[in-house]
Symmetry: C2
Subunit: 133 residues, 2 copies
C-alpha cells in the first residue's frame, strides 16, 4: 500500500518547506502543527520530543497526514496520508542537527535542552496528492 511521492513535488523537500503534521488526539479532535521534515527514500521523517502532545498522539494512533506547501507558491502543495512505521530515539540528536542545518543553516540545533529526549518518527505515505497534479 506504499504510495509513491510524485516526482513533480519532491523538490519541496529540498526547500525550507514546513510540513503541517496532523495527528489524532484522544478526544477525537485533530492536532495540526508545523514541523521540520526530511525525506528518506519514500518516507517522511520528522523529529520531536518525548512526552510532547504530538509524541503521545502518534504513539496512541499512528495514522497521520503531512501537508507540505511550497514556501514560494502557497497554491502548490503535497499531501501525504500515511502511517508512522517507526518511532525511535536512535540517531535523533544527530537528526535534529541535520534539520537545523536545513532550516536554520546552523551545524547544531540551538534550542537543545538537557532534559529533553529527541525522537525520530518515520512516516510511510499510503496516499499521495500533489497539487497541481
Amino acid at each position: 500500500m506504499a504510495a509513491i511521492i510524485p516526482s513533480s513535488h519532491k523538490d519541496l523537500f529540498e526547500k525550507k518547506a514546513f510540513a503541517h503534521l496532523a495527528c489524532h488526539l484522544s478526544d477525537g479532535s485533530i492536532l495540526v502543527n508545523p514541523v521540520w521534515c526530511t525525506l528518506e527514500g519514500d518516507r517522511v521523517v520528522i523529529n520531536s520530543v518525548q512526552g510532547r502532545l504530538k509524541d503521545r498522539a502518534m504513539r496512541r494512533d499512528n495514522k497521520v497526514t503531512v501537508c507540505i506547501s511550497d514556501p514560494d507558491d502557497p497554491y502548490r502543495y503535497l499531501e501525504l496520508r500515511g502511517t508512522v512505521v517507526e518511532i525511535t530515539t536512535d540517531g535523533a540528536d544527530e537528526a535534529i542537527d541535520r534539520l537545523a542545518k536545513k532550516y536554520m543553516g546552523v551545524d547544531t540545533y540551538p534550542y537543545r535542552k538537557d532534559d529533553q529526549i529527541r525522537v525520530i518518527y518515520r512516516i510511510q505515505p499510503e496516499k499521495a496528492v500533489g497539487f497541481p497534479s
Copy 2:
C-alpha cells in the same frame, strides 16, 4: 466550550495567510489541505465546492482543525480545534469573491465554474493554541 482566539494572533487573519484545514476521512485517515479563510467574530469561515472531498468529510464528521501559519514567520502559528457549526450555500458566491479580494486582490473569483455550487463552512473553535504564546 467556545475558545477565545488569542488577540496576539488575530493579525494572521489580516494577512494572506492560508489555513491548513484538517478533516476526518471515512477510512480513519486525515485530510489536510491549504485553504483561504476569514474570521467572523470568533468563527473561522472557509469556502469550498459541494461534493469535494473536504465537503463530504465535514458533512460526515464536523470536528476539524485549522492551523494558520504566519507567511512572514513560519515559526509563528495559530492552531484552532473546533466544530463546523454551519454549512450553507447562502451567500457563498459573494463570500468567495471576498476571499478572492483578500488573497488575489481581484473583485471577482476568477475560477468560478457554472456547474459548481459554492459552500460556506463556519467553524467554532473550542481549543486555541497560539505559538509563540
